[in-house]
Amino acid sequence: MSLGLSEVEWAALTLSLKVSAWAVVISLPPAIAVAWVLARKRFPGKALLSALVHLPLVLPPVVTGYLLLLTFGMNGVLGRLLADWGIVLAFRWTGAALAAGIMGFPLMVRAIRLAIEAVDPKLEDAAETLGAGRAARFRTVTLPLIAPGILAGVVLGFAKAMGEFGATITFVANIPGETQTLPSAIYAFLQVPGGEDSAVRLVILAIIVALGAVLMSEWLARRLARRIGQEPPR
């Protein structure tokens, strides 16, 4: 117990931070890859891929959660496969991270795709004539130039993960200490008589975390902009 929080409240806060951090970590590499493909490649079915990526944004979260349960549940196709490997997602915090990651995925892809589209491919051509192979070009030219977009995507993804409720509660339920994230805990406290005090404390915490994340990203964005030789946003 600390900060005057009960054990359950504290657990909800730390779990939410852990789930959100993991959600961002696991979805960032595929988000960059998909954003790259959508920004730079032309292929049949590109519109379909784009629509699929955006699906979690427009589907009711409960539907996404239920689909996850069908796929990754103990009786789901992937769920059984993963269970053989010793990985269980349903009703575990890892499942919460997966749900949060998927819900935040379209937001991350959007932000990163915009950043990639803003990078002039001619700069990559220039790097190529200077001897940089594909990986080196990405690492030394593209990645530094899209860093602000990646940062924006990470902040959006993290915020979405912190607030994710519908898919999470459907896929992994609301188990204190295991899958009870901040929003689930607030919801749970509001369901029981005398839980308002806890709910308000958690609401204040949620506001502080969100505000902190936004302020930090603003500060980082300014530093990054200066590093890549662009005027800081005003």
Partner: protein, 364 residues
């Protein structure tokens, strides 16, 4: 090392089919916009994979359509200076010019970098970001960056086109210095004949995807057939001249193989060899040795050939000593003076009419 180029490629609206060779020195690809010049250099660089043809640098084949060879641009070691600079905005000038060396064998050669920085006058810019540089400074950095990647060949696609005239004059001496110290062939794309006349050793004239004329720059520029291709107002030969004497009145006495000229605005030291550009429309012809003329620049010449075009003009190819140049006169004048191949006459060159910027060695 010499470059052999044979490129065929179909674009919507343009059939590219060119072949040429580029030896040591500067080979200029000259032609109007849309002639396909940039596509040719992109193919040489490896940024464009043509439908057909073969590109070889000495013994090393970098592209051969028949054998399915297409060496990636990153492995060709062909430097490229782009019209728009394309400096990396997130790196300092120093990091930009050192970029290519990361991938070159042996890494960055500090001594070489120091020499190039000094040659291109970049000492004060090294810690700056590209977005704080002027257009001319950016192009100098781009030159240094391409040069320090230790290329086997340098491509320059209109490196001066984005600059205004004063900026061009500022960067030209650096280009000429680079040309003189570079041990590799340079392919220089331009649609500006003054630039080409100043820099090029070899000239390849392109039109609508084809090579229409090529050879030594002096030969092409003094070929009457070239006149309609390069434009009558721009057409003019280049002549080598030696600075014999720098006069106190600001005029320099220049020795050509066929006579002497007095020109203002030549800053090259006595004894040095410079290039003169003589525009065809600035040359008058006279059957008799002119007297009482305000111009001192009269050369005895022999008429080599006449080329009648579509308009009222005639291009007359003249020889003075070993040098060949063109005069553009009217059809009527040619008839009245009975100009014919083999006859001798006198060419009057209006010295002040020769653009200052075109006098090689004058700037800088």
């Amino acid at each position: 090392m010499s470059l052999g180029v044979e490129v065929r490629h179909r674009f919507p609206g343009l059939d590219l089919d060119v072949a040429f060779a580029a030896g040591p020195g500067v080979t200029a690809l000259f032609g109007p916009s849309g002639a396909g010049k940039s596509s040719v250099v992109n193919a040489i660089a490896g940024l464009l994979r043509p439908d057909g043809g073969r590109i070889a640098l000495g013994d090393s084949v970098v592209f051969d359509a028949d054998r399915g060879v297409h060496v990636p641009a990153a492995q060709r070691r062909i430097g490229y200076v782009f019209q728009d600079g394309r400096l990396f905005p997130h790196m300092t000038v120093a990091a930009n010019i050192g970029y290519g060396a990361r991938f070159a064998k042996g890494g960055l050669d500090r001594a070489e970098m120091g020499r190039v920085v000094e040659l291109l006058g970049l000492e004060a810019l090294l810690e700056r970001r590209p977005n704080t540089l002027s257009g001319g400074e950016k192009q100098r950095v781009a030159l240094a960056r391409a040069w320090l990647s230790r290329p086997r060949l340098l491509l320059m696609d209109e490196p001066l086109a984005a600059l205004d005239e004063p900026r061009k004059d500022e960067i030209f001496p650096y280009l000429e210095r680079l040309r003189d110290v570079a041990q590799v062939p340079i392919v220089y794309v331009s649609h500006n004949l003054a630039e080409v006349a100043r820099l090029a050793d070899e000239l390849v004239v392109m039109q609508r995807g084809q090579v229409v004329l090529s050879g030594r720059a002096e030969a092409v520029l003094s070929d009457p057939k070239a006149l309609p291709l390069v434009g009558v107002r721009e057409a003019g030969a280049i002549l080598p001249a030696q600075v014999a004497e720098q006069g106190a009145d600001g005029l320099s006495r220049l020795t050509l193989s066929g006579g002497e000229l007095l020109l203002p605005g030549v800053s090259a030291p006595e004894g040095s060899t410079i290039r003169l550009r003589v525009l065809a429309q600035d040359v008058l012809l006279s059957r008799a040795a002119p007297e009482g003329l305000s111009s001192h620049n009269v050369l005895p010449v022999e008429v080599v050939a006449l080329h009648r075009g579509m308009g009222p003009g005639v291009a007359v190819q003249l020889r003075a000593g070993r040098d060949v140049f063109l005069a553009r006169i009217t059809q009527r004048a040619a008839t009245e003076l009975r100009i014919a191949p083999g006859m001798t006459c006198f060419a009057i060159l209006n010295a002040t009419a020769i653009p200052r910027g075109s006098i090689g060695g004058a700037a800088g």
